[in-house]
């Protein structure tokens, strides 16, 4: 088993300070030169305490982004939250989907381009098509999620006589399994297609950069020891042993 080393992560500013070492003779010209100039300017500004910001992401303004932009009904959002928590549960490996703010991530995504399928071909005529032809539904993701979440709640009421979020974990898993196995009737989209979308959105919320509202405090990345958007791995690339480092998010680079 390889030994695990610890190495602190490198921000854009640290990198640029050291880039003369790493890039050799090329700095000073072109874009790297202008970056160096910018970073020099940054150094004189008071708002560049990136290290501090990285460790303070759950405090202050961060919490104010935890509010709904898309789901109007509290009930729907509670169903969504309970479902994604079963897909990515809190356990000894690390925080679960709710603690990582995945439901808010999905809500924000549905409010925008992703929810409207803005960059996808949505013209008719619509046909079911073969599995090799990819998704063919004319429903947009925002409709699919609202509909899917309401079907989860329907099945919970039918099968157990309670709201989905009041069931125990095993019962919730059983219901999600019905969706995964396409055993739930849905119109315009299949239950398994909805489940696939829900699962993928959950993983995106766990592991996308915190700028999108999930992966709170980069704790999703910590589950996988993922170092985020580091400037360079020039010194690590040939290492025989596993090198672990503190993650860095876009926040450290853009502010």
């Amino acid at each position: 088993m390889a030994e695990e080393n610890n190495q602190s992560g490198m921000t854009r500013r640290d990198f640029l300070k050291n880039s003369g070492l790493v890039v050799g003779g090329v700095v000073g010209g072109g874009i790297l030169g202008s970056l160096l100039t910018n970073s020099f300017t940054d150094d004189t500004s008071p708002a560049t305490d990136t290290e501090g910001d990285q460790t303070d992401q759950t405090g202050g303004d961060e919490q104010l982004t935890k509010a709904r932009m898309f789901f109007k009904r509290q009930e729907d959002f509670r169903v969504l939250s309970a479902a994604v928590e079963r897909i990515f549960p809190d356990d000894e490996t690390g925080p679960g989907a709710i603690a990582l703010a995945v439901p808010f991530f999905i809500d924000k995504q549905l409010a925008g381009e992703y929810g409207f399928n803005s960059r996808e071909y949505m013209e008719g005529p619509f046909h079911e098509g073969a599995p090799t032809q990819g998704p063919q539904t004319g429903m947009r993701r925002r409709e699919v999620f609202l509909y899917g979440v309401s079907r989860i709640q329907d099945i919970a009421q039918d099968q157990f006589g309670e709201a989905f979020f009041d069931l125990d974990g095993e019962q919730q898993d059983e219901i999600l399994g019905h969706f995964q196995n396409a055993e739930v009737d849905m119109t315009g989209v299949t239950a398994d297609a909805f489940f696939t979308m829900l699962r993928q959105a959950t993983l995106e919320g766990v592991y996308a950069d915190p700028v999108y509202g999930g992966n709170l405090n980069m704790d999703g990345w910590r589950i996988k020891k993922y170092p985020g958007g580091q400037m360079a791995f020039f010194d690590v690339i040939e290492a025989d042993e596993f090198v672990e480092m503190e993650p860095i998010s876009l926040h450290a680079h853009h502010t």
Binding site: T132, E204, G229, E238
Partner: protein, 570 residues
């Protein structure tokens, strides 16, 4: 009514690698060129600090907006073709620089065998080995005649690499030394070596050291930051058109780029072209750009579609096997295997073309006498740098969600090594491109229709490669190896590769090819169609260096044509 613009000597449709190369070569010689690019302008500053998996790798920030235009797809003629509504199997580029921005930078050269595949296959195995429904064709030029153009492309981009006895011969050294080796690459090389294979470090356009090309353009040293594939480079350390050929062309003062200009038709009088019609995507206004010579460099899909839409060349008819436009659409036959290990590798680090490679099972490097397929594929262990949304490896039998999945996907994240084979894709009579009868783009023009499936040849090749991948991973010491020897039917959703080829193929006979070996249209001598659209088949390799070499070859032909307009081949 289209507004007519001042005449140019050369109009280039699409400004990526091919368009940029041709623009730079022509502009340097003093010819007035305009590049009509339907996407937006792009600058290298667009790529600084964009280390965002969701935006670029998952939501395809740099790719074509399918709401405006996509293509339709079916596996065979009995199916109803339906739109590719989301990007999946391949990722079409957009904006200035095209797919040359988001490429990984893999730089292999196609083989001498590829350029003379029909002749050599017959010589080595007899004509019976070529199935009746496989229109396997020579390219109308030999590797020896192409070599200088490959060398030229390498010089422009500064390719990092090392020689190997299983790759195509080179007249010049690699401009820069090979990339660094990771632990996994060393394990791959040792295993391959002990199996009697011939491993080497992959040729890369992510450069091992800073390099200044003959045009005075500098490409920086790679930082192995892992944001290559689907990203623009943070450091200008991955050669792309925006840091090489496009500025080279612009600095001459003879090249102008007009963005947001979507060319929809090539003027054609049945003999020659006089320019192109385009729509300004910001205003909806139509323009006519007159030009003495027109160059299509708008990727496989759009090159083919524009010719079909403009009525240039005979559309391919698979029933009667007549016509050429849309013929020999090919792809890449991928195989992969995953090995699960005890130790953790630094897989978060990497570069797009960082890898170890063997070509003992590529092209005709091995005896096919007793095999049930032709050609082969390269085998690679790449370390492009894994990212957490897309990479969730778990051993077979693990649930796909819930506690067990969470634990396993975290545990195996750095303990899984993947090997891949990029198999050659040989033509099939019923794999082709034409216009869709139903679906249209946002202008109302018909979408391109793709009819494509894997063939018996493809399935046999993939099964063979899959077994080789498994052998290597076992030799590397994997606890468990998972592979998928049966590739099934082609599915347009799971990402495979953006190595689409064919549709406007080159050759020595106007009956069976659309362009000659200078990529000049047989049916329209002042129209050149450049790109992987010219490949009569796809090799067991990444296509970009061959596209680059053909672009330099075409540029030479265009210069000669501008001096003395005539068919460049009989």
């Amino acid at each position: 009514m289209a507004t007519e613009l001042p005449r140019k000597q050369v109009a280039i449709v699409g400004v990526g690698w091919s368009g940029g190369i041709i623009a730079s070569e022509l502009a340097k010689e003093g010819y007035e060129c305009i590049g009509l690019e339907r996407g937006s302008e792009r600058k290298i500053n667009d790529f600084i600090m964009q280390k965002d998996e969701l935006r670029y790798a998952i939501r395809y920030e740099l790719m074509q907006d399918l709401s405006k235009e996509t293509l339709t797809f079916r596996n065979d003629q009995d199916m109803l073709a339906l739109p590719m509504r989301q990007m999946g199997s391949f990722l079409l580029g957009t904006d200035l620089g095209g797919a040359g921005i988001h490429w990984n930078g893999q730089c292999p050269r196609f083989y001498p065998y590829d350029f003379e595949i029909r002749t050599q296959t017959i010589d080595n195995y007899g004509e019976d080995r070529i199935p009746d429904d496989m229109p396997l064709q020579d390219w109308g030029i030999s590797y020896d005649d192409m070599e200088e153009y490959f060398a030229k492309f390498d010089e422009t981009i500064g390719t990092s690499g090392e020689d190997n006895e299983m790759t195509a011969p080179r007249s010049t050294e690699f401009p820069t030394p090979p990339m660094k080796q990771t632990r996994s690459m060393k394990m791959f090389a040792e295993a391959a070596d002990s199996l009697g294979l011939h491993p080497y470090i992959s040729a890369s356009a992510n450069l091992s050291e800073a390099y200044t090309n003959p045009d005075g353009k500098t490409i920086n040293q790679c930082m192995y930051c892992s944001f290559c594939e689907r990203f623009g480079c943070d450091y200008q350390a991955k050669s792309d058109p925006l840091i090489t050929v496009i500025p080279t062309a612009l600095e001459t003062g003879n090249f102008e780029v007009r963005t947001h200009s979507n060319v929809r038709e090539i003027a054609y009088d049945g003999n020659q072209t006089d320019g192109v019609y385009f729509t300004d995507t910001r205003t909806g206004e139509d323009y006519f750009q007159p030009a003495d010579v027109v160059i299509l460099t708008s990727y496989v899909m759009n090159n083919t579609r524009l010719l079909l839409q403009s009525g240039i060349g005979d559309p391919y008819d698979p029933e009667n096997e007549t016509g050429v436009i849309g013929k020999n659409y090919c792809y890449q036959v991928m195989a992969s295997a995953q090995g699960f290990f005890d130790e953790q590798f630094n897989l978060y680090a990497g570069a797009g073309a960082l890898g170890g490679q063997v070509d003992d099972y590529n092209a005709d490097n091995f005896d096919h006498s007793d095999l049930d397929f032709l050609h082969g594929g390269t085998i690679q262990l790449t370390q492009t740098g894994i990212r957490p949304i897309a990479t969730n490896p778990v051993p077979p039998g693990t649930p796909t969600w819930g506690k067990e999945f969470k634990e396993a996907s975290a545990h195996y994240f750095y303990r899984t090594l993947s090997l891949g084979s990029q198999g050659a894709s040989l033509p099939y009579r019923y794999n082709y491109l034409d216009l869709d009868p139903t679906y249209t783009d946002s202008h109302g023009d018909p979408l391109l229709r793709m009819t494509y499936n894997f063939t018996e040849q493809d399935r046999n090749l993939a099964a063979h490669q899959s077994a080789r991948l498994t052998e290597i991973l076992e030799e590397m010491g994997a606890n468990e190896v998972v592979s998928n020897p049966d590739i099934g039917d082609y599915n347009i959703m799971p990402y495979q590769t953006t190595h689409n080829t064919g549709g406007v193929i080159m050759g020595s006979d106007s009956e069976t090819s659309a362009v000659n070996n200078y990529l000049q249209m047989w049916d329209c001598e002042n129209l050149f169609v450049v790109g992987a659209s010219a490949f009569p088949h796809n090799s067991g390799y990444n296509p970009t260096p061959t596209v680059g070499a053909l672009s330099y070859r075409a540029a030479e032909g265009i210069l000669s044509y501008l001096e003395d307009p005539r068919p460049l081949a009989e």
